[in-house]
Subunit: 432 residues, 2 copies
């Protein structure tokens, strides 16, 4: 509701009052009308108002900077250049329990452009997962998502596609939207930097797989079990890792909609917790991929009943049924010498840098006041100097000298427990 529009109504009413005859009852009803609109204006002042767009991401630490805590990742040494995130385009297929939260996380991280694909509508039955609100029931998931996301961060370019990618027409639009490069014409490859699959059925996953194999596009797959307590994410690089068709499930739906296979009146369970964790892991991998930090697990599982997070790696199947996958595998093998040469160049460069680093300090400004100390054994350290703490800090426990017999309860048991756990996991794997 626009306060400005209501102001216009009041202005018009005032003009009207001046131009009508001096009839007391007419003027009284006009006054009543104006006070009514005035009240509406008061209410409207508390209605949602959007924040201004931000031109450059600033690292300034003020309450009004929506990017200060993200730009701090640079200062902390986690990423080299956070602002590069504004150049990237991510496509999210399936705006359900995982996809909608992934979209919100990327929006709040200030991603450049999001492409959202879904054909479904918001229902009250979706309210047990994050993101959608009861007042959005009946809207398409893409429209509701654009509404919420553009309010949260007007800097993100949002493109919504209300379509089913498993139809012929839907697939064509899906492919052409992925290829479109007007957002950043200079980029290599197609128009998006990553595709996230957040769909809930095998057929749609196979379609995303087909598209990404054809387009030679890296993508990430996610899924949550029907009993709501497990999930996984997976990185798929055409030709380099297994594609989704390289090791398909053993039994699949054939010629019918998978969802009609479910028994009448029975629906899958879902939890905001499991889906939130899977979305968090998925977008964390997305950030690592786009901003080049940390290790991206090729496959990461989440078994919530046991708090177990298995990881594994899957190489492509040379007898994969997907023709585009086989082509990408061939290309990947052909490019092996070029990759080896590039790796050798990087290695040589790093070695040269390491040599020159001996001659000059690595961080001349030393913003964090970190200094390199000799690796002396604690027992030989000079107590008088090591005991000095900066102003405002105090030791929580007495020094080791004062309480030699103090039992440190936790740590010893802890690592033993951890070892036992690992041994059990090893035994279970060996038994397979």
């Amino acid at each position: 509701m626009e306060v400005a529009e209501l102001k216009g109504v009041i202005r018009d009413l005032e003009t009207l009052k001046l131009s009508i005859p001096q009839d007391p009852s007419l003027h009284a009803s006009l006054d009543q009308l104006m006070s009514r609109v005035g009240h509406l204006m008061e209410v409207a002042k508390f209605a949602p108002s959007r924040r201004e767009k931000v031109k450059d991401m600033s690292a300034e630490v003020v309450d009004s900077n929506p990017y200060s805590r993200l730009m701090a990742l640079q200062r902390m040494g986690i990423v080299d250049n956070y602002e590069k995130i504004r150049e990237y385009s991510v496509a999210i297929v399936g705006i359900g329990g995982v996809g909608s939260v992934a979209a919100e996380m990327l929006t709040r991280c200030g991603i450049g452009r999001l492409l959202l694909y879904d054909y479904d509508k918001v229902e009250l039955a979706n309210m047990n997962r994050l993101f959608f609100r009861p007042e959005q029931v009946g809207m398409t998931k893409t429209d509701a998502a654009v509404q919420t996301l553009s309010d949260i961060n007007p800097d993100v370019v949002l493109e919504s596609y209300t379509l089913n990618i498993t139809t012929v027409q839907g697939f064509e639009t899906f492919m052409s939207s992925l290829k479109h490069k007007s957002f950043r014409p200079s980029k290599d490859g197609i128009g998006v930097d990553l595709v996230l699959s957040c769909v809930d059925n095998y057929e749609a996953r196979m379609v995303v797989n087909q598209a990404c194999n054809e387009l030679n596009q890296t993508w990430m797959e996610s899924g949550v079990s029907e009993d709501a307590v497990s999930g996984h994410i997976q990185l798929l690089i055409p030709g380099e890792t297994a594609c989704f068709a390289c090791a398909p499930p053993l039994v699949v739906a054939s010629g019918v909609d998978e969802r009609t296979l479910k028994r009448e009146g029975v629906c899958a369970a879902s939890l905001p917790t499991t889906m939130g964790v899977v979305a968090g892991l998925l977008v964390q991998s997305t950030l690592k991929f786009l901003l080049k930090f940390g290790h991206i697990s090729p496959y990461l599982g989440y078994n919530s009943l046991k708090d177990y997070f298995p990881t594994l790696e899957m190489r492509p199947n040379p007898q994969c049924s997907n023709a585009a996958c086989l082509e990408r595998q061939k290309e990947y093998l052909l490019a092996q010498p070029a990759r080896d040469a590039a790796a050798a160049t990087v290695k040589a460069k790093l070695e040269a840098e390491a040599l020159s680093a001996v001659e000059c300090p690595l961080h001349a400004d030393n913003e964090w006041n970190i200094s390199v100390v000799d690796d002396i054994e604690p027992s030989t350290m000079d107590a008088s100097s090591s005991d000095v703490l900066p102003e405002g800090l105090a030791r929580e426990l007495p020094t080791a000298d004062a309480h030699q017999n103090l039992s440190v309860a936790g740590s010893a048991d802890a690592s033993v427990e951890d070892l036992d756990d690992l041994r059990k996991q090893l035994e279970a794997l060996n038994a397979d």
Copy 2:
């Protein structure tokens, strides 16, 4: 914005039009006004409207049932009685990046009652994490949370406490609100079933620790590192596990606000991904604790750079500096014989049930049509019967007979990778 109020404005304008003289320009401006208000009414129709309260949680599979996917957890055999969640009260201290998402997850799960504690206001600098929206900037976090949560699920009883628990007055209110039992007078112990600590500093954690030790209240602690890429959750049962003072950090703030210790202009980094994962793990543990399913890790870490999730267990420190902790430890040891006796009774009961189960089928109705089959070796199975699939299903891969030499690329490598990972972890732990 009330559609009804705007309708009233239009009605008044119509009455006005009838009572003023037949002046064309007057009537034209009145018509313009009416179309303007009519447009506002259209816009207002899409403004938030809240859903009705739900008396009982239904498992009915219809789009309009907000609880169908949660009640399905019962049908799937994950929980015994999902609806019991409506009896429970959870206190969340700190409604920031983790606490607000935890509150939303519990609200969407249909928790009975939430108690929210925070003294801070919403800032644009919070927008890089989930939950708060730009239009809530300036509101207290507790008010903004109640606004959003009551729209999402009007069935949840929300209590908000805008206070600082580290002040004398704040601590008193905190304690008395935890004790208050009017929501479910018949419950054992104090008025809440679990306390979740989602604060960002040591001082506040020690206050929650003090309160829970004094009240003998189980709680869970959560935290995210200043570089935004690690986090943890921890279960604390007074007397049984280490309390937060049993193994405190080695260096802590002394007599000053911790936040002033940070360098001018430097702020901690934060990410919606890490905080979303930590909130998801925290509320997953909360659901396991309240609804009694799965294993609750005493401590679960999340190292996002390596996708590593360490677990450990910490026993209480017999020389803990917290007097209430020492008292709880004494009580716990004294109650050991009673616990042993109870465990023996449960064991005997389970054995008796196992014996009687042999005599009658466990699930007489067999809703999922699951039948027990003999554990025959695959090679000796009758191919003609095992090859029959239900209608609508087809095998994705040819049978093993047809393609004996088909290489299954992924699985073999996968488990080897996994074993290597585990071996490396073991070696790292042994080296400590």
